[in-house]
Subunit: 336 residues, 2 copies
Amino acid sequence: MADNSILLAHGSGGRLSHELVKSIFLPVFDNQVLNQLDDRAEVEVSGVKLAFTTDSFVVNPLFFAGGDIGKLAVCGTVNDLAMGGAEPLYISAGFIIEEGFSLDSLKSVVASMKKAADEAGVKIVCGDTKVVEKGSADQIFINTSGIGLVPEGVKVSGSLARPGDKVVINGFIGDHGMAVMAERQGLSFKSTIASDCAPLNGLVKTMLGESKNIHVFRDPTRGGVATTLNEIAAQSGVGIVLREEAIPVRDEVLAVCEILGFDPLYVANEGKLLAVIPAETAERVVAAMKNHPYGTDSAIIGEVVADHPGRVVLSTGIGGHRIVDMLVGEQLPRIC
Amino acid sequence: MADNSILLAHGSGGRLSHELVKSIFLPVFDNQVLNQLDDRAEVEVSGVKLAFTTDSFVVNPLFFAGGDIGKLAVCGTVNDLAMGGAEPLYISAGFIIEEGFSLDSLKSVVASMKKAADEAGVKIVCGDTKVVEKGSADQIFINTSGIGLVPEGVKVSGSLARPGDKVVINGFIGDHGMAVMAERQGLSFKSTIASDCAPLNGLVKTMLGESKNIHVFRDPTRGGVATTLNEIAAQSGVGIVLREEAIPVRDEVLAVCEILGFDPLYVANEGKLLAVIPAETAERVVAAMKNHPYGTDSAIIGEVVADHPGRVVLSTGIGGHRIVDMLVGEQLPRIC
């Protein structure tokens, strides 16, 4: 039965998710835009270049340190647009609610959505609400889709990484995944770790203001930094070398990961971006990032190489190397 | 508890749905576009007028005579765009799938989506898949959002109905609701009733080709013809008078409605549109509709009046009148 049915790992963002997309969706929906496999579609309407994206949110629990499903739903879609270098403009909100869900919780979620939308400078312009019987859904699921404007002269894609480029991140990894995990388990360390959930369009604008010559933006959500870099390596046909000691991880996150058996490279982030930037401008862009509230801990964590195309390799502090594969299986179901 | 929690009727498309939108969503998300309360948002990007809409689909059962959740998900969003007079262009697909759902069923649903998209001339350009644990969702939910182009010179809205206008429908009412109901109950009459689920953008184009002077388009889905006309009457501040004998209802649908205690005026349609058209061009537009495959049974079913603003009145065959209110409570949960 398992061979012929959906597993939790199909929703992990890792290897099985990719296989599902490639075996079921792409061959049928087959069109040039979808086949790009970027976080959002780039389409042209009457000569205007738009970014278009969709995401459903099923995070459990709904409320956690640093955010809730509403903030996540707005930031996630804003970020998918921003990762195309686009200016996010309009968001839709589709609610699927379980009968009996508290109106007060709904109000909190809606207030979070508004707050995040205001920060990101987007408007929630259309919506839909469906209610299903008790037991037919888990509290509330939210879909957000978004439209953004791709500015002239910006061309970013997961397929544009080139040997010699630097790999940049805007701060500490694994905070979102461990904050949700802590909330779920009622762990006592939870007060020290908060989700990094944030709208990143302002940071992207700062970076593009410093240099339009940025090759790739991508947010390492489900599957974490490891899976996202594997996607970029595969799409661009290049290798990536990460320097372990350069990757920012908080001590608390590292400690919890060790206790629970997680590798922070695979843990979801909701306020982080990976950028692939030509070597000659990378330092300058990172300096600009450090002046932005969501980029104070930015760092160059690796580089793109011509060797081992499609592979990500971690060079460890003690001079060793290990291959960092895409996430296999499911680590943290319903992390977003 | 009931006073402070979500009821099935909040998802009915009727009175409680409207109250939820007006009390929870509008005051918080508050913006001019959303406040229009049309089926889709009309937004401008770099001088190009776009229609943008979202809909989640939770229909139960997933497969029924005349369609399935996949066909419904594409047609529903295509139709919401078309009801703005827009040409539907791009669709997103967000899947929330219950662990254990059959891959074969998923393939069938995806094939239906593609077939409907091809018929409507739209491309499915972006998507997302989430998987939740067994028991946390009911098989599969699909969100589709869509972008369309609003052509020059077209201005339709639920607020533009004017006294003297004719109310037009493109055929028989109640087919979708009764087809799903029959499938759900395993009723023996089910072979004779099929959902009317269809993409209506071609029909809308035909109508606008005949006359751009059409005031309102709206598809009477959840809550049926009665609820949709109440929305138009309220938005436009006009009265509407329906002639009962002019409303096309199949004998089989009427019979089943009578047995089960439904009023066909409140039963969901998925391939019907209501149009409000100036009297001088209504006959001509209806003649054009009758030449379209989805309009062969089109009819003028009523007119807009200055009397009783906000109210819909049905004039019955025997000379009587009754007020037709918005749907109260929930008739058929998860009809779309």
